[in-house]
């Protein structure tokens, strides 16, 4: 699965994107965030407050309990500040 990071999530993790093989037991947005958060210091910093980090699944906003299903791309980012 393609995983993209934006704004301070990207800065803390240190990369813009990566491909990840979903491990067993990771079936929702929140479970993937928890899995990523355990991968190292930068990831832990990015996901230290998982309620703040938002996600989009195949370019649509997704809630933490949304199933990853057959999605090809997921993005994690802070609350948006456009406009």
């Amino acid at each position: 699965m393609r995983v993209l990071y934006f704004a301070w999530v990207r800065e803390r993790i240190g990369i813009e994107a990566e491909d990840i093989d979903l491990p067993e037991g990771v079936a929702t947005v929140a479970e993937l965030a928890a899995f990523l958060g355990a991968r190292g210091e930068g990831y832990a910093h990015a996901f230290e407050n998982p309620r703040i980090v938002r996600a989009a699944l195949d370019r649509r906003h997704a809630k933490p309990d949304t199933a990853l299903g057959a999605a090809r791309e997921i993005a994690f980012f802070p609350p948006m500040t456009g406009g």
Partner: protein, 152 residues
């Protein structure tokens, strides 16, 4: 005509509004809203040097397109143009444009406000600010969420 553009280059609000009305006789109201880069948030605060807007290419267009579809379902719009810039902007620069056209003013006013309120909280853009005392990501504001949610 309904158009969403995500671009680095500047836009001209009057040109975009005129393009929406050109050749038509059914439009009675056009509302044009432009959001600009502001130098100062509070008196006495360190003035802003620049904003850099990061976006999620692809999703930014799609998400704003979905908002335009929602606006069309709620109001009898004849046309709309939404332009959002990305990249580095200095105070006085244009950031975002919403133009709505309808037969009557209420629909055009309300749809423009709806689009701006939702765009601020759901379009995937992030602002990083540069000031004399450093740089940092701007935090989302609760009042922006509340402004969007009042539309139900």
């Amino acid at each position: 005509m309904f158009t969403v553009r995500i671009q680095a280059q500047d836009f001209d609000a009057a040109t975009e509004a005129a393009a929406l009305a050109r050749g038509r006789t059914d439009i009675g109201a056009i509302v044009t809203f432009a959001g600009l880069c502001r130098a100062q948030d509070a008196p006495g605060g360190a003035p802003l040097i620049a904003l850099t807007l990061e976006h999620y290419p692809g999703m930014a267009e799609e998400e704003i397109g979905r908002l335009v579809e929602q606006a069309r379902a709620r109001w009898p719009l004849i046309g709309a143009t939404v332009i959002h810039r990305y990249g580095r902007m200095v105070p006085g620069d244009n950031i975002v444009l919403v133009v709505t056209a309808s037969a009557h003013r209420a629909a055009a006013f309300e749809a423009a406000q709806f689009l701006m309120d939702w765009l601020k909280t759901s379009a995937p853009f992030w602002k990083m600010e540069e000031r004399d005392d450093g740089t940092g990501w701007i935090a989302a504001k609760d009042e922006d969420d509340e402004a969007a949610e009042r539309w139900g």
